[in-house]
Symmetry: C2
Subunit: 651 residues, 2 copies
């Protein structure tokens, strides 16, 4: 097949590729990593490049104007090389690699009454063996098994070929004083069976740590806690963006990307790189040796679990939305690809369905909903919103595809919660002038999720937006104007912004945000209807997800995202997924409880439910078509209307 | 560190190696494979090279005369590079890669009454699955497990990450008609648990084969049988020299070689190459796809098992002679390195002790000693002789280090049973002239094991050798002469031999052979003494090992190697190890019987037993100090002495 030289400017890297190669692929070969947040579907426009000259065929030109096309712009994920070409790559939005929660969280306590040293499954057992002699020619492994039976009541132990290779010298090095590290309780095996992880010479000090990991693989952020299994103490907490982000911002885009060519292996490599880098960092901080980490417990949504193991995830995306597997077996670190002890146990926590994964079962555990006498509502808001309603007697769950709007994607000036993002905002009800707070205290570059929630609430309460989300263009302010996509509100003028352009929220953005919040709220109401339990009867609303730590509840209620309940009933739990993974790591009973949670939860598929569409439509207004669901907002709205201009204080 | 150029002639290959590199290692880097039958101990002299010039230091010069040393000869395994050097490699004795038993053995019958399709552990289960729907969003793997529970009563199944990767598309390819291949009975697991080996689309024909392997890893020869697990039929039988031979002819030399540097990994690679090559050949013959072989059952002595998995074997060689492991867990083909289905079960059969391995437990099974009402004697003669005495009520076993003399090693003109080897011999009692038969019908180049047994018997019966193994130099024949190592008998004159040199048996050779046969016979007697059962009371003597097929019983009794019993009580069984592996492969009950055999056998360590040395000393004569143990030989000896010359017929 003919090959063609493609030159990438401005640096001038060049590659030779065959006819039919996608430009993104050619770019990768030239070591240029084009971001593809939509997973290479040609929808996001983030990979647009300029074809200076040459034979490039465009399969799709979605998102590009005729003017752009005339100038030679093309989405690289949709452009096919058919001859020599010269391409210019515009400076791309860099993914800012910020540590989102990379600090020791002071409030992680070893649960009272737990005894991690014996409660968790990994046991370190020092053995004093009788050396072999002509009177006792028992083979080495039978000798160890015999000692484990006699000294630790372990009846059956498995050993791997690699452990067999090192066993003989380990036993003899300290004259038949040796220590076994054994995974004694696999929840899938009958009691009394075990697996040897390592056999080391001599007897360690009693207070020498034995390391484990709790891991949460979020679509956006991966968190890792390094734990001393013997004390239960968390010795390091680190977090980092999931490197898969560059290949799709939501799970759907990533599934699509992973389904193409070597995409699955690439995705696996990216998340492993992220985790292994974090493990290295945590070990450095705690002065631990990664090779001595003998167990990892992993939470994450079902798509993240599939991508971690490169299990095809296409069926998650397509009706009837099934996973390949919800309950993974215990795996070995070497098979998963974690750079810890190769024989370490890797326990991927169980999920319930395609969109209710192990992050939720772990979250329910750490929230305590499953053992509560009163009914509680648990919600984990992220790219998807997962909702659990129930008590110790029953648990129902659903997932609603909110989309990434609240994470700043799919919104014209949206961005992630990084430096330069507006995170809180207030609007003067008289002048319609905004004031706002920017992450990092720099000039604003866009709006992150909490900023968008606040903006929506303020625009509504000040009458800039009506119930239906339409701009009142009759108001006398230059900030409301007609833009390319209909009416829009200017949050920051070009001269005050960090990039010299206006920061706006458009009618289209408002529609996206309304759909997102409507999906979540409809989830609440349908779930409550299904079990005939009014939302308001829930004793508590537990909000999980790292998103949950930053949003302003009052404003989230004002726009109808969260149910209208007294503030004191809301509790923000932070990352419940990793907290649940941590508990499962250090406490075998907690691990079994997650198993029971997964088995007990009744999953309601909203896309199969007509009442969801009705609830969704009703919730697609600010805050809702039926204001009696939001009495406090109705009251506030009335107050705002009656306020005299002089009483409004600029913030 | 300084590096030096070493040139290997006559071809002139050259390599650069650092100071201190052994010449064998330098040669390997120059792609010259020097044979090291003694395992690099500097004892065999097979790797001798000539140092034309250069700085080479000799650590040991064992086996080289001063004359050789003066000429520059050096054992490459003991010569260290200390500067530039020019080396000449003499043409080495090539290992003849002969197919020893590479033919279909006609007498392998599927045992009557066995039903292999259900008796063995691998089951092929066609499933018709209900496709997922919005009403049944069960994940793929739970759906398969549910069907296995309902349709095949399999309660618990394990799955590997790689099977999870291919499962989804396999299920959908033929519209939810699929077939699982499952290992249903692992002897270490409770009943009802199983492991998924493969999940394939659609339903195969009922008569489509399902492949398994029976493998025997001999020190000298590796045998492989390809078996259709559904019918039990053996579809191909192939065998080949174990490629490890070039690194040591006996297990001791190989253990030494494997203990040095990367020797263990090299040994593992060599035996895997041998097996994988044989599997390829067997598949070609049976038109099978190696990727469809789903189980392998392996027999072999304890050292061979350790080397196959690169488990350090040093403790086998050193007192108190213990293995790392006798009962290996079921392994996966991908972990062992067999080029068959990566998830295939690999069942390494259990051994009893360092020198009574799985070849013997499998051999006992196929010989039937363990289920016999009468006492039987089972012997497997190879480089080591393993002996089992017993019945269904008791089993005792021992191993005697016969050494490789009967395989042609350690004897001046000894060789393996290949083309050019004298395999049978007769001596005229009047003229002392020999006549003989040569393998391949060519000119003789040496003597193999059966030839040496025959020669020893004839020399004894004709009075050339006395009871003590001394030559009667007073006899009038040029064939008895004084050689470099004392008296010797010329079997073939230089002008009649294949290599133009005399073929002789020396006094030293006779001593070696006597020690070998004495060790084995002493094993018999000590074992019989231990259980107070006279050897003669054994109903049958079952002789296994490929050696067993070729020796002349009468002559083996005449020299006192086998006990003096009527011919009809001897039965030659051929390779009992692979026959046992085959039974264990196709019949789960047989596999369990091997497990019981291993548990039941009482191992007697001869080196710890004083009575062994007495028995050994008594047996170090022809045929024995005490002729009443060999009445038939005594009688024959008397007849020979009384025979008139005319009555002796030339053969």
């Amino acid at each position: 097949m003919a090959t063609h030289t493609v030159i990438f400017g401005p640096q001038g890297d060049q590659v030779d590729v065959p006819t039919g190669t996608l430009l993104v692929e050619a770019a990768r070969q030239a070591n240029i990593d084009l971001q593809q947040p939509c997973g290479g579907q040609g929808r996001c426009g983030r990979c647009v490049v300029k074809v200076e000259e040459g034979a490039i065929r465009q399969r799709s030109s979605l998102r590009l104007s005729q003017e752009d096309l005339d100038k030679g712009y093309a989405p690289a994920c949709q452009a096919v090389v058919e001859g020599e070409a010269h391409i210019t790559v515009p400076p791309q939005e860099k993914i800012e690699r910020r540590l989102t929660t990379d600090r020791v969280v002071g409030d992680v306590q070893v649960p009272a009454g737990y005894e991690p040293a014996t409660a968790q499954s990994i046991q370190r057992i020092p053995l004093s063996l009788q050396p072999p002699s002509m009177d006792d020619q028992t083979d080495d492994w039978s000798r160890v098994q015999r000692a484990l039976r006699q000294q630790a009541d372990i009846k059956e132990v498995e050993i791997s070929p690699s452990s067999l290779r090192s066993m003989g010298s380990a036993l003899r090095e300290k004259d038949w004083q040796a220590t076994t590290i054994v995974d004694t309780r696999n929840w899938r095996q009958p009691e009394g069976t075990a697996r040897l992880i390592d056999l080391i010479p001599g007897h360690p000090d009693d207070d020498a740590p034995m390391w484990g990991l709790a891991i949460d693989i979020g679509t956006t952020t991966v968190s890792v806690w390094l734990v001393n299994l013997l004390s239960g103490e968390v010795k390091a907490q680190v977090a980092e963006y999931n490197q898969q982000i560059g290949r799709g911002e939501d799970v759907i885009s990533r599934i699509i990307y992973a389904s193409k060519g070597e995409g699955g292996e690439e995705m696996r490599g990216l998340v492993l790189d992220t985790i292994n880098e974090l493990v290295k960092r945590a070990c450095l901080r705690a002065q631990a040796d990664a090779g001595e980490i003998v167990k990892a417990t992993i939470a994450g949504n079902s798509t993240m679990m599939h991508l971690l193991l490169n299990i095809p995830a296409a069926s998650i995306r397509l009706s009837p939305f099934v996973t390949a597997i919800n309950h993974l077996p215990i795996l070995l670190a070497k098979d998963v690809g974690l750079n810890i002890h190769p024989q370490a146990s890797v326990d991927c926590l169980p999920g319930v369905a395609s969109y209710v994964g192990a992050d939720i079962t772990a979250g329910v555990l750490s929230s305590g909903v499953d053992s509560s006498e009163e009914v509680k509502l648990f919600i984990d808001v992220g790219t998807n919103g997962e909702i659990v309603l129930g008590s110790r007697d029953w648990l129902v769950t659903c997932a609603c595809s909110a989309g990434p709007a609240f994470e700043g994607a799919g919104v014209q000036d949206g961005m992630r919660a990084t430096k330069g993002a507006i995170e809180e905002i207030w609007i003067n009800a008289d002048t319609y002038e905004p004031s706002y707070r920017v992450i990092g205290g720099v000039k604003a570059r866009g709006l992150c999720g909490s900023g968008l929630i606040a903006l929506l609430a303020e625009l509504f309460l000040t009458g800039v937006l009506d119930k239906g989300g339409s701009f009142d263009t009759s108001l006398e302010t230059p900030r409301i104007r007609k833009g390319e996509h209909g009416a829009e509100y200017v949050v920051v003028w070009a001269e005050e912004s960090g990039h010299g352009e206006d920061i706006v929220i458009t009618h289209v953005d408002v529609d996206n945000l309304l759909r997102a919040k409507a999906a979540i709220y409809a989830g609440f109401t349908v779930l409550a209807d299904k079990v005939a339990v009014p939302l308001q009867s829930a004793e508590q609303v537990l909000v999980g997800g790292s998103f949950g730590k930053y949003i302003n509840v009052e404003k989230a209620v004002e726009i109808g995202l969260l149910p209208d309940m007294p503030w004191e009933q809301f509790q923000f739990l932070g990352n419940t997924a990793i907290q649940g993974a941590y508990l499962a790591l250090i406490d075998f009973e907690a691990r079994q409880r997650i198993q029971e949670i997964a088995a007990r939860m009744t999953y309601i598929e909203l896309s199969a439910d007509n009442s969801f569409y009705e609830a969704f439509t009703s919730a697609s207004f600010l805050p809702h078509t039926d204001l009696k669901h939001f009495p406090s907002v109705a009251e506030k709205f009335e107050q705002m209307k009656n306020i005299q201009p002089a009483e409004v204080c600029a913030p």
